[in-house]
């Protein structure tokens, strides 16, 4: 193999100029305060993965179409690819790595294993984070597009398979484990 020509090279230095100035931020991630400097254009997703090494949160589309990057910000589900890290300064973030308690799986994690709610597992952190927050939304009486009567408050007892399908449809799964995901979420919701 002969190099055809000399490679043109830059300096590779993280020179701080103009738009590329890094900004300091502090996030509470899975209960721990983490401070770092990030480029203003860095998404929360990239900051979690590249700055904090929390690679459980996945990048699949990087434009808000698939749900693989779902995390909780102040208790609500959020697509971490669709927000900048700098915008979340001071917020409480929970990622898939923060769901276990004292070595015990969260009920949804256990239900995903029991019902085989995943195959390759790549969409799974996003599915699980979505499911945990979705059950809280249902408990807080939020209706969905599948709710037949939005004139009265929704109750968790109405969280049917159709409701779960609708509420989980922001999370794509190309291995297509959907029926098992519905079973896992239904079981965990019933027990919660």
């Amino acid at each position: 193999m002969n190099p055809a020509a000399t490679v043109t090279r830059g300096t590779g230095e993280n020179t701080v100029v103009g738009d590329d100035a890094r900004v300091p931020i502090g996030l509470t991630v899975n209960g721990r305060v983490r401070t770092m400097t990030v480029e203003p254009r860095t998404t929360l997703l990239d900051a979690l993965r590249d700055e904090l090494g929390l690679t459980g949160t996945k990048k699949a589309c990087d434009r808000g179409e698939c749900g693989a990057c779902t995390v909780h910000v102040d208790g609500r589900r959020l697509l971490s690819c669709m927000t900048l890290a700098a915008m979340q300064d001071g917020k409480q973030i929970t990622t898939i790595e923060g769901l276990e308690r004292d070595g015990n799986l969260h009920a949804i994690q256990a239900a995903f294993i029991e019902h085989d709610g995943f195959q390759c597992g790549f969409c799974t952190p996003g599915q699980i984070m979505s499911a945990v927050a979705m059950i809280e939304e249902a408990k807080a009486d939020w209706p969905s597009a599948a709710t037949t009567d939005v004139g009265r408050p929704f109750t968790i007892a109405e969280l049917s398979a159709a409701e779960i399908r609708e509420r989980m449809s922001g999370n794509l799964c190309r291995c297509a484990c959907y029926p098992n995901i519905v079973d896992a979420v239904a079981e965990a919701a019933a027990r919660s």
Partner: protein, 737 residues
């Protein structure tokens, strides 16, 4: 106790639900740099100039490569074929030619991903553009005969033309399928790191670590021993990660030049041109049959697009060679049209899922033409002899698939006339189809090590794509060794492990699984030897056949003599006992029997008569995939396959700009895949039996079988609901208005 046949939860489940499973882009690597690709915006022509000066000065940039500066690559053997697992023969950044839109024209390496991507936007490219050739209605005129690739390009048994011409009933129709993209959730990713001694370690999203190593060795001109390829968890493959694509070569060479690890993850949009796709097909089928429905002839021709530089063939006609008994003759023929696009590749389920749409739709048309029930028509044409090779099928439970699937579905309650079933104002339609899937026999190696603590380790260079490989290999080793599954650890996905085959064609269980079984047997036999002839042998003088093993304990029949693996190793002063498994079967085509998996699938749809919107109501699939090793993971594969078929039937199509020649809908909001809300409950039945011809484990291929014939079952159901026969996939609303 038997682990095989039990619905055991996944061995790697905990890793996957906690985010601890490390996929390729998750591997932490000190000093890693990030690469971004700059693409051609034209589909045909050449680059006249590429100005990289501003990009090189951008913050964080280490290097910018173009065709002038990227080191040369060795071409792969001609003619191009998947046997050297090269996604496409055209190598990246080697000349100024442009053969497809999205082709790389530059590579930027920088300290962070954002820096690399931003610098890429500063590169100015001038083109000399020409009008690209695209695959369209002109295609049939430009089609040419390709060189042979996987199977013979054309086949002929008997005289199909004569049989069809003389038939009492004839169906002759053209069916088309669309270009589709795999869209695995995990984008392709590569991290390349070179040691000081010139060893390349490549973390790669691949279904074929050994093939990747072989190809890199050829292209980079370094010995295979100097390359390690690692793929321990794959975020979906579906055939799209079976071969080596250009970005992998770019990352490996950039890392070599820069002497620093380079990470390159494709963006979602890049997944539409940097890696392969399933090509569209235009298929013409002619069926000839008697008034009794018995087939006398089949002619099945298919045309598909391929790039200017390679001849990829989508063997849509394959299915017609072996699915049904045909008395007079069968011919199949494949042609290609060279257009400006990158090379297509295998996508779940290549060849079969496309061909079945044509054949099983035509069978439904035949059933209506004769006035016979579609299930009865299939039963009438069932056979135990492969019409193509003349060999008997090893096992073929088609009859049982039709019977059990139909009973579960309630097929007998269907009224056959189109538009005869309703639910409120919605039209209800029920359709079915049969299916056949090729079985692959490939060599595979494995190693099983019994350890002094009574546990065992399985090591084999196969992959976990989502099918549950870690789990099923654990089950196979546990049963063979006589150990509880929890005592067995499985290591996969590293070329430093014993060599295995590509995880494609639903072959892993039957082949890699057989190698694990043989390795476990070898380790177990060595342990038995020690009980008979080892140090202070507990069963000295006994015969091997009397040694039984259960729960890690070796026992001598009709005595109380026993010893655990742990005690046996300690007594013999051994830290480990190793067994090697070398599975080296004859190729299926050269065996005495024809080995295939089979299915019958039943779909019910609901169609809104005003909007033409089709929704799947329910679905039953009955499968003969031989012995099922793990019913839980098998069911998951089956529902996944069915949903793949729903995507093929109703949603998925990659659209090409007719002027610019580029794929247009390069994201999940333009390229629709099924979502949770699209899918009802699905029922799966496994009716197969142990098939010793298929594998020593008795298993046949399953994963891809389940994605086959979903589309024709749905299309047939749509016909039943509406009276409209849609012969073009996907079945979108405008086709029903």
């Amino acid at each position: 106790m038997n682990a095989i046949g039990q619905p055991i939860s996944r061995f790697d489940g905990r890793l996957k639900v906690t985010g601890a499973a490390r996929y390729t882009a998750d591997i932490p690597l000190a000093d890693a740099t990030h690469a971004a690709i700059v693409h051609s915006t034209i589909a045909n022509g050449r680059t006249v100039s590429i100005d990289t000066t501003t990009a090189e000065k951008a913050p964080g940039v280490f290097a910018v490569f173009t065709h002038r500066t990227m080191p040369r690559m060795n071409p792969t053997p001609k003619p191009w074929s998947h046997l050297h697992p090269h996604g496409q023969s055209y190598l990246p950044l080697q000349d100024d030619q442009i053969h497809y839109a999205g082709q790389p024209v530059a590579l930027v390496v920088a300290g962070t991903l954002d820096q690399a991507a931003y610098a890429g936007t500063l590169i100015r490219v001038e083109y000399d553009a020409r009008r690209p050739v695209v695959f369209g209605s002109q295609a049939t005129k430009e089609a040419v005969d390709p060189p042979q690739f996987l199977w013979p390009v054309a086949s002929s048994v008997g005289d199909a033309d004569k049989a069809v011409a003389a038939a009492a009933v004839k169906i002759e129709q053209t069916y088309t399928t669309s270009d589709r993209h795999h869209n695995q959730m995990e984008p392709h990713a590569t991290t390349a790191a070179w040691d000081a001694d010139g060893t390349l370690t490549l973390y790669e999203t691949t279904q074929h670590i050994f093939g990747t190593r072989e190809l890199l060795s050829i292209v980079l001109g370094i010995p295979e021993e100097k390359i390690n390829v690692v793929s321990q968890f794959l975020g979906g493959g579906f055939g799209g990660k079976a071969y080596v694509w250009p970005h992998t070569l770019l990352a490996a060479l950039a890392a070599k030049v820069l002497k620093r690890p380079v990470r390159l993850q494709l963006t979602r949009a890049q997944m539409y041109a940097m890696v392969g796709h399933q090509p569209a097909t235009i298929q013409t089928i002619a069926l000839g049959a008697g008034k009794d429905g018995k087939l006398t002839g089949i002619r099945h021709d298919s045309i598909s697009p391929t790039p200017i530089f390679d001849s990829y063939i989508e063997y849509a006609g394959l299915v017609s060679r072996s699915l049904w008994a045909v008395s007079g003759g069968i011919t199949t023929k494949h042609k290609v049209v060279h257009v400006h696009r990158n090379t297509p590749t295998a996508m779940r389920s290549p060849h079969e899922a496309l061909g079945h749409f044509a054949l099983e739709s035509a069978m439904d048309e035949l059933a209506y033409a004769i006035g016979i029930d579609p299930v009865a028509l299939r039963l009438r044409n069932d056979t135990q002899l492969d019409p193509h090779s003349g060999r008997p099928f090893s096992t073929r439970a088609m009859r049982e698939c039709l019977r059990a699937g139909g009973a579960r579905f309630g097929w007998d309650k269907r009224t056959p006339e189109p538009r005869s079933m309703r639910d409120g104002r919605d039209l209800i339609g029920q359709g079915m189809a049969g299916a056949i899937y090729t079985h692959w026999r490939w060599p595979a190696k494995a190693r099983v090590t019994l350890k002094r603590d009574g546990s065992a380790v399985v090591e084999t260079g196969t992959h976990e794509l989502g099918a549950g490989t870690y789990t099923v290999m654990q089950q196979v080793a546990a049963d063979t060794l006589g150990l509880a599954p929890e005592k067995v650890t499985v290591r996969l996905g590293d070329t430093r492990l014993p060599a295995s085959h590509a995880s494609i064609g639903s072959s892993t269980m039957a082949n890699a699984g057989a190698s694990v079984m043989l390795a476990a047997k070898a380790a177990r036999d060595r342990a038995i030897d020690l009980t008979l002839t080892g140090r202070n042998a507990p069963f000295a003088g006994a015969v091997r056949g009397d040694v039984l093993i259960s729960d890690g304990r070796l026992m001598l029949a009709r005595t109380n003599l026993q010893i655990t693996y742990a005690e046996l190793l300690a007594r013999n002063g051994l830290a480990t006992l190793v067994g090697d498994g070398d599975y080296d079967p004859v190729e299926e085509a050269n065996g005495p029997k024809a080995v295939f998996s089979f299915a019958a699938v039943f779909a019910e749809v609901r169609v809104d008569p005003d909007l033409g919107l089709v929704r799947l109501n329910r679905f039953v699939g009955a499968y003969d995939a031989g012995r099922i090793i793990n019913p839980k993971t098998a069911r998951s594969q089956a529902i996944g396959g069915i949903i793949w078929g729903v995507g093929q039937a109703l949603l998925e199509q990659s659209e090409t700009d007719p002027v610019l020649g580029r794929f247009l809908n390069r994201n999940y909001s333009g390229y629709l895949v099924p979502t949770n809300a699209d899918i009802p409950q699905l029922e799966t039945l496994f009716v197969g039996e142990f098939d010793e011809e298929a594998s020593p484990l008795g298993a046949k291929g399953l994963g891809e079988l389940t994605a086959v014939s979903v589309a024709p079952a749905i299309a047939n159901a749509v016909y039943h609901a509406t009276g409209k026969r849609v012969r073009e996939l996907p079945i979108t609303v405008e086709k029903l208005l």
